[in-house]
């Protein structure tokens, strides 16, 4: 009864489906991501500049601004606002450090129902964990290569 089968290979079907699928409104998404991402960065710069104005060293000022943004991301997530922003902003709210903070708080809130250690504690880094793993690991490699270069010289 071969004739009952769909007359398409998996590959053809996959292409057919891709053609059918409604596309994300990419131009609109990029504009929203650009504006929201840029805006969050400007907030960071404003905080840095305020710190510098009050005679805080530039390096510390940058740290204060990052910490403040992490606080902002966590705060907006816990009052259920960040996910709404994310619907419009897309990558504009994922890529900035506030998005990193959001990706820590979001699973933490949800897994609280499974207890504070194995629920909240273990799942907090469900999304952000890989960022630390690959970030720190790649910085280790960079450090090692740099050390080798100094050593050889």
């Amino acid at each position: 009864m071969e004739e009952d089968k769909i007359k398409m290979t998996n590959k053809e079907y996959s292409e057919y489906v891709d053609g059918k699928a409604k596309k994300s409104p990419i131009i609109k998404n990029i504009i929203f991501a650009f504006i929201s991402g840029g805006f969050i960065c400007v907030i960071g710069q404003i905080i840095t500049n305020i710190c510098v104005y009050y005679k805080i060293e530039v390096k510390d000022a940058a740290t204060i601004s990052i910490v403040s943004l992490i606080f902002l991301g966590a705060f907006l997530t816990s009052i259920h606002v960040y996910s709404r922003i994310g619907k419009y902003a897309g990558a504009g709210s994922v890529i900035p450090i506030t998005g990193f903070s959001n990706s820590i708080v979001a699973p933490a809130i949800e897994y609280k129902s499974e207890g504070y250690v194995l629920g909240l504690g273990a799942n907090m880094f469900k999304i952000a964990g890989p960022v630390l793993v690959y970030g720190i690991f790649s910085s280790f490699i960079v450090g090692f290569i740099y050390w080798l270069m100094l050593f050889v010289r």
């Binding site: 009864m1 009952d4 089968k5 769909i6 007359k7 398409m8 998996n10 590959k11 079907y13 996959s14 057919y16 489906v17 059918k20 699928a21 409604k22 596309k23 994300s24 998404n29 997530t77 816990s78 259920h80 960040y82 996910s83 709404r84 922003i85 994310g86 619907k87 902003a89 897309g90 709210s93 994922v94 998005g99 959001n102 990706s103 708080v105 979001a106 699973p107 809130i109 949800e110 129902s113 469900k126 999304i127």
Partner: protein, 338 residues
């Protein structure tokens, strides 16, 4: 009696005596809102977790059905039920309280029709006189099971679907009960079809071939034309899936476009944000059939329907391992007697 390739003709035509449904806030405010029995405006349903809330949705749907018929749970012989959670905990914990002999099912979003099918077969062969079929799903617990945390700020692609919060239940009884209600005439369990789709946010496309396969097989086995049915109702193919199914059938020179309806497309207002392609989940077809379509049948606005529920049988683990999404579709023919 088996006819054709995979269809069973139920010669004792069991009756669907009563149905009941319970849904969450989004569904209550949707286009079919007026048809549901129990509407809860709180996604927690007064419970501490989403999983418990899902259990409670199923529990209140079942309690309401028993109440409607003035029955107690001891009068029920068996229950077939399932949901989307790991180890089917929503149904398990719900039925723990009911003390009814329980068959747990997993057919993803096809669970409700699978339960209907098995309970009608049970009643048809006389193993029980009052058998329940039920299924539930919950948007929040399904998001936890399959996707990202709720508070994570991300965008969903336009092909994504929104899991229905709620539950539906139907009671199957033997044909000799004196009451004019719809009967089950044929069931067609489906094969697993996999066309290699891997995108978790395009389930309609993954499941449409399974629906196609089951519908074509059913029509062939029963020697019926699509027009025989007043409606061929799929569970949760959504916008994309519906278009694909209709086109697949057309390529096979079977035109179902005039009779096809999709619960996922009807339960929500598709223009609303975050609904995207439509509703999904076990509760989608369960709640919509148990309320709207059952009422349409009882009031004879529809007389012959083919209920086809599709289920995508993947898990986050299989997706993580790079597997494609296998799908199954089960069909059940429900008709008014003339």
């Amino acid at each position: 009696m088996k006819i054709g390739k995979q269809t069973i003709k139920l010669k004792n035509t069991p009756k669907i005596l009563e149905t009941s449904s319970a849904v969450g806030p989004k569904e209550s405010n949707g286009p079919l809102g007026i048809y549901f029995d129990i509407k809860c405006s709180d996604v927690f349903y007064g419970e501490k977790s989403f999983e418990k809330a899902e259990s409670k949705f199923m529990k209140s749907a079942i309690d309401n059905l028993l109440y409607k018929l003035n029955l107690t749970n001891e009068k029920i012989d068996y229950i077939f039920a399932g949901d989307l959670l790991n180890q089917c905990i929503a149904s398990g914990y719900c039925i723990r309280d009911l003390q009814i002999p329980f068959f747990g099912l997993y057919g993803a979003c096809s669970t409700f029709v699978e339960a209907l099918m098995l309970s009608s077969l049970f009643v048809n062969s006389g193993y029980g006189t009052k058998v329940l079929a039920s299924a539930s799903s919950h948007f929040c617990s399904a998001e936890r099971q399959f996707r990202l945390p709720l508070e994570h700020g991300n965008q969903k692609p336009p092909t994504a679907q929104c899991t229905v919060t709620g539950s539906g239940v139907a009671l199957l009884v033997p044909h000799d009960i004196e009451k004019k209600v719809p009967v089950v005439t044929y069931v067609t369990p489906g094969k697993i079809i996999d066309m290699g789709i891997k995108d978790m946010s395009n389930m309609g496309a993954a499941m449409a071939p399974a629906a196609f396969d089951t519908i074509i097989t059913h029509l062939k086995d029963t020697e019926r034309k699509p027009e025989y049915y007043d409606a061929i109702i799929t569970g949760d193919l959504g916008k994309e899936g519906t278009d694909i199914l209709i086109e697949l059938c057309k390529n096979y020179s079977v035109d179902i476009s005039t009779v096809h309806r999709d619960c996922g497309k009807e339960i929500f207002d598709l223009n609303e944000r975050d609904i995207n392609s439509g509703g999904s989940g076990c509760a989608c077809i369960a709640a919509v059939f148990s309320s709207y379509f059952y009422q349409e049948l009882k009031e004879k606005r529809l007389n012959r329907i083919l209920l086809v529920a599709t289920g995508a049988l993947m898990s986050p683990i299989s997706i993580g391992q790079g597997e494609s999404i296998p799908s199954v579709a089960h069909a059940i023919a429900i008709e008014n007697e003339v």
